[in-house]
């Protein structure tokens, strides 16, 4: 008897609690910036593609859902000619982001990727590349290291001396 009354009371009390359920999709849940959701390819502060097609994300991927193919511009800067992620296989583990040496590939707090047709889960580079820096601001791989490319010569990266003259006497 007491137990029944207690149960009724508890249920009644919940009627005045703050609502946990939100009216999705009109109302969105908060996802932290570090949330591992949809994968994007970002650009460096100068607007250039950050990805240097090093294939490290692809090899780090435990489900092998990343495929890319490198290409080169006329100044020797390498970029992915093709970049494909099969999100129907992706487990959002974030290994690709960890493996990326240039902050190019990032997981962003976007989970709205449901599709009726699995084929629509295959994203090409045009679907992945965004016009921004994503979560990591200010980093430009080629300013720090890497090869000489258009706009950056030998010895112009961080911590580098200017090129030496092998014909010098000292």
């Amino acid at each position: 008897m007491i137990s029944n009354i207690r149960t009724l009371w508890l249920v009644f009390k919940h009627a005045f609690r703050k609502r946990v359920t939100i009216q999705y999709p009109e109302e969105k849940a908060y996802l932290a910036p570090r949330y591992r959701g949809r994968i994007v390819l970002t650009r460096d502060p100068d607007g250039g593609e950050r990805c240097v097609a090093c294939y490290l994300c692809a090899v780090a991927c435990p489900v092998d859902c990343i495929a890319l193919d490198s290409a080169e511009d006329e100044t020797g800067r390498r970029y992915p000619g093709m970049f494909r992620i099969n999100f129907s296989r992706c487990i959002y583990c974030g290994f690709c982001e960890e493996a990326c040496p240039t902050y190019a590939i990032q997981l962003v707090p976007d989970v709205e990727m449901a599709e009726y047709n699995r084929q629509n889960m295959v994203y090409e580079k045009e679907h992945l590349l965004i016009d921004g820096e994503g979560k990591y601001h200010g980093y430009n791989y080629y300013k720090v290291a890497g090869l000489a490319i258009g706009g950056k010569g030998k010895g112009e990266a961080e911590n580098e001396d200017p090129p030496i003259d092998p014909r010098g006497l000292t």
Binding site: Y55, S70, R78, E160, P166
Partner: protein, 906 residues
């Protein structure tokens, strides 16, 4: 056998080796940079430090460089010693002070010896806070990319390039941490073996420029054991493919054949596989034979093409088959089985067919064994008759270049310097080189290494050879009328060859001179009669020249006659562009006489344009088959990638063509093993080809062998754009390999090695784990089976000695001068290699040029068989009088049968 003690345990070791070699052979992981099995030790990088103890009581010992200490009996070392470990770690740390932080954009990344050694030595954190030195790079031509910042100054590149390969234009400049490896000025590396720098360099200073343009990491390359298709030596290669194209060629170690190195034609010729001019689908040509302007061929389905071809062939009076020395043994056999023995032709002009058959005949029935390239490297005297080896059989030229070290090495050994101690050996022998005698028509790239060189017309080279044979053995036929200079060289050569422990005589078919082959055979037999060991090696032009010679079939002429006499009116042409073989007019006439032409080829050619039905044949990368190299070694090559479009092996097409027309009818051969079995039953001469590699049902622990590396990436995304459901990997009924990463990780037999990798060893140096001992034989023996072994009969000398060559007024002997880049049919379609193809020219001797007032570059008109060739003159100081040369096989110069009679028109 010596006993050495490593970290308290005893091992057997070869006292002729150094401790580094022995430790690696025993399976220890000891880091190294400057040492290379083919280059020996110099002790420069200080990376292979170990602690050596004087005796059992000695507890202190001293740090020594393992590569500089012989594995003498009783040697006690510790690899695990803490101080030695710290030493190795510090050395790496110093090397890394200047190494750039660019692995993500470095083509060596993932297969970098420096990465491997850094991990192995345990260096992980950078403590050095100062700036890195940088260099500017050089443009080294279409093959090699230069990135000097990455250099760790191990000196391997110049030691390989200058000391090993005889190059002159790569050197070390400047001093201390400014040491720079490059050319004195920007420019293409001259050596024909420059591509090996890619594998020799332990880091990313020299990388493959063709790979750079379609870059793929090592772990993503689906690779297969392959055999180079670009000359007759049959070097073993590893071809790597991704996204349906071949992306690079690496050396595949075959202890007996190519060892560690390839030539640039073999390494960079692969790009023809990816050309847009490839035939990917069957083509139908309706009015091919009756118009000069050919209608555009239309592609059709395989079923339609097979139906049309079957109908046409069924209605033919007689079908003839034309084989090819660039098609596999299996494809040639399949065609022979289709058309019958009497109607199968080898597709060669009569002269070349005769020469190649003669070469095989001499090797089979003579008493001299034909050496492998490794044995040529071990020869202490070499005589080259009439071949410009660097152009016709490049890897053999590199082997000959090593042979000149054998005689002087003995001198070093006598003073106690072992051959692996490279610097010390070179200090002992200084500029002394072993005997290499070259008789050629013009300068060759081996002249700088030769002790004697003479330049003569082909007949005079043969006479020189006959005279050498006579000087060795008095039963050999005599040669009259030699000059004093020649007689002197003949005597010296005979003496040198007789005195050598293992002399090798090399000649070949490139000059189209029968007497040269016979002369070299006489020399070898003369030495044999004198109870001397000898090797006799013939250079043949194409990957399967010897294979087709062993099939024992008639030359092209026979096919032409059958057609012109009206006995045959249909032909199947297998991977052969007849317009390259003989005079265009003859070929034209042949095609006009045919009512049906069926061609199988990989690239479009004038011949495929004349065919009514063209089947897309697989290149080396899309086929399984066997090539027989110049020493008669049958070597299997396997598919690297599953063919795109309707491409299939020629033997497979021919098998389908022979089946009934109902869709349920099975082809004559279901897989490669069935072709090989049928061939072995019918043709005992080539039956051994069956054993060149394990059969398709071969398994290791019940599993197949993977073509893809274990960390192959993108499996679920590569084809996801076509269908999100991953397809099953293609089946492979022809080999024990799979088109996936699934299969055993166990060590495969040498003929099935698809990639070199071992735990901790991602670079090509992982090869160490695939050898019996480092630098030694392949585990389980070198791949391939020798089909030719001499029968040791009593032979009689060749006695038909040509007359001395005398130039005729106005009439010249025109020779085809071979070029490593351009003379070979397939490789010249590779864009990088095409950049190195010379412009066509007419080579004229200095004497003739002066007599006619010809200057360098002047336009000459040369008439050969009624055709006129207008080309600039190239004046050669050494080309004999009465002899002209034009580059062999270049576009516009095909279809000339060399040697030809030519007239210079004023």
């Amino acid at each position: 056998m010596a006993t050495i003690h490593i970290d308290g345990k005893s091992y057997d070791a070869d006292p002729g080796k150094n401790l580094l070699q022995v430790s690696l052979s025993l399976g220890f992981d000891l880091p190294y940079f400057c040492w290379h099995p083919a280059l020996g030790s110099v002790g420069a990088c200080r990376q292979c430090a170990v602690r050596q103890y004087r005796n059992e009581e000695d507890k202190d010992g001293q740090i020594v460089m393992a590569c500089m200490v012989p594995a003498a009996d009783g040697t006690r070392i510790s690899i695990e010693d803490e101080e030695a470990r710290q030493f190795r770690k510090s050395v790496i740390e110093w090397l890394m002070t200047n190494h750039p932080h660019d692995c993500p954009v470095c083509d060596e990344g993932g297969e970098c010896h420096l990465q491997d050694m850094t991990v192995m030595a345990g260096h992980a954190y950078r403590r050095f806070r100062y700036r890195k030195r940088t260099f500017t790079n050089q443009d080294l031509g279409p093959f090699i990319n230069h990135e000097m910042n990455r250099c760790i100054q191990c000196y391997r590149c110049v030691r390989y390039y200058k000391d090993y390969a005889g190059g002159r234009d790569l050197d070390a400049f400047a001093s201390h941490n400014h040491v720079y490896f490059g050319r004195s000025v920007d420019g293409t590396l001259e050596s024909e073996f420059s591509g090996n720098l890619v594998e020799v360099c332990p880091t990313g200073v020299f990388t493959d420029k063709t790979l750079k343009h379609h870059y793929t990491r090592k772990w993503d390359l689906q690779s297969g054991p392959s055999v180079c298709a670009h000359c007759g030596l049959g070097c073993n290669t590893l071809a790597g493919a991704r996204y349906g194209g071949v992306r690079r060629i690496l050396n595949r170690y075959n202890h007996e054949v190519n060892g560690y190195f390839l030539c640039d034609r073999g390494r960079y010729g692969y790009e023809f596989v990816n050309r847009p001019s490839r035939i990917r689908h069957p083509l139908l040509h309706t009015d091919a034979s009756d118009t000069d302007t050919l209608s555009k061929p239309e592609s059709c389905s395989p079923e339609e093409a097979l139906r049309q071809a079957r109908d046409r062939l069924r209605n033919a009076r007689r079908v003839i088959g034309i084989g090819s020395p660039r098609a596999s043994l299996e494809s040639n056999y399949a065609l022979r089985a289709f058309v019958g023995e009497d109607y199968f032709f080898n597709g060669l002009p009569s002269a070349e067919s005769h020469l190649v058959t003669l070469a095989a005949e001499i090797l089979r029935n003579g008493s001299a064994e034909t050496p492998s390239l490794r044995e040529i490297e071990g020869a202490d005297a070499v005589l080259v008759l009439g071949e410009d080896l660097t152009q016709t059989a490049p890897r053999m030229a590199l082997a000959v270049r090593q042979s000149i070290m054998r005689a002087p090495e003995e001198k070093a050994r006598a003073v106690g310097v072992p051959p692996w101690n490279d610097r010390a050996v070179r200090d002992v022998i200084q500029a002394e080189r072993g005997p290499l005698i070259v008789a050629a028509v013009d300068e060759t790239r081996l002249d700088d290494a030769a002790t004697s060189v003479i330049y003569r017309a082909p007949d005079d080279i043969a006479r020189f050879g006959f005279a050498v044979a006579r000087a060795i053995n008095a039963d050999a036929p005599p040669v009259e009328g030699l000059s004093d200079e020649e007689t002197d060289l003949v005597q010296r050569t005979a003496k040198t060859l007789s005195a050598a422990k293992y002399p090798v005589v090399i000649s070949g078919v490139s000059l189209g001179n029968e007497a040269i082959l016979q002369a070299s055979a006489n020399i070898a037999w003369a030495l044999d009669r004198e109870q001397k060991p000898v090797g006799l090696s013939f250079v043949v032009p194409e990957a399967n020249s010897v294979g087709i010679a062993l099939l024992d079939s008639a030359p092209l002429r026979g096919a032409f006659e059958l057609v012109s006499s009206g006995k045959a009116d249909a032909a199947i042409i297998l991977e052969n562009d007849l317009y390259r073989r003989t005079h265009a007019l003859d070929v034209e006439k042949f095609f006009t006489g045919l009512r049906t032409v069926v061609a199988l080829d990989s690239l479009r050619s004038p011949t495929t344009d004349r065919a009514h039905v063209v089947f897309p044949a697989g290149t080396f990368a899309e086929s399984d088959g066997t090539f027989v190299n110049n020493e008669g070694r049958a070597q299997r090559f396997f598919q690297v990638l599953s063919p795109e479009g309707d491409v299939a092996e020629s033997w497979r097409w021919l098998g389908r063509l022979q089946s009934g027309s109902a869709p349920s009818d099975e082809p004559r051969w279901k897989n490669l093993d069935e072709v090989l079995d049928a061939m072995a039953a019918e043709l005992p001469d080539v039956a051994g080809a069956k054993d060149a590699a394990p059969r398709a049902d071969f398994r290791v622990a019940g599993a197949r062998l993977p073509r893809s590396p274990r960390r192959f990436s993108g499996r679920t995304a590569i084809l996801a754009n076509l269908d999100v459901h991953e397809p099953k990997p293609p089946d492979d009924p022809d080999s024990p390999l799979t088109f996936s990463m699934e299969g055993t990780a166990a060590m495969p037999p040498a003929a099935l090695v698809s990639h070199y990798w071992a735990p901790g060893w991602n670079s090509v140096q992982a090869l160490n784990k695939f050898q019996d001992e480092v630098g030694g034989a392949n585990r389980g023996g070198a791949p391939g089976v020798r089909l030719i072994e001499p029968e040791k009969p009593i032979h009689s000398y060749f006695t038909k000695i040509p007359d001395a060559f005398s130039p005729h007024d106005g009439k010249f002997v025109v020779l085809g001068l071979h070029h490593i880049f351009g003379s070979e049919e397939l490789s010249r379609h590779a864009p990088a290699l095409a950049e190195r193809i010379p412009e066509p020219y007419i080579a004229i001797g200095d004497a003739d040029a002066r007599a006619r007032g010809v200057t360098e570059g002047r336009e000459l008109v040369l008439r050969i068989f009624g055709r006129e060739y207008k080309l600039p003159a190239c004046v050669r100081p050494n080309l004999p009088r009465g002899v002209l040369g034009v580059p062999f096989g270049l576009p516009g110069l095909t279809g000339i049968v060399f040697p030809a009679d030519g007239h210079l028109l004023e």
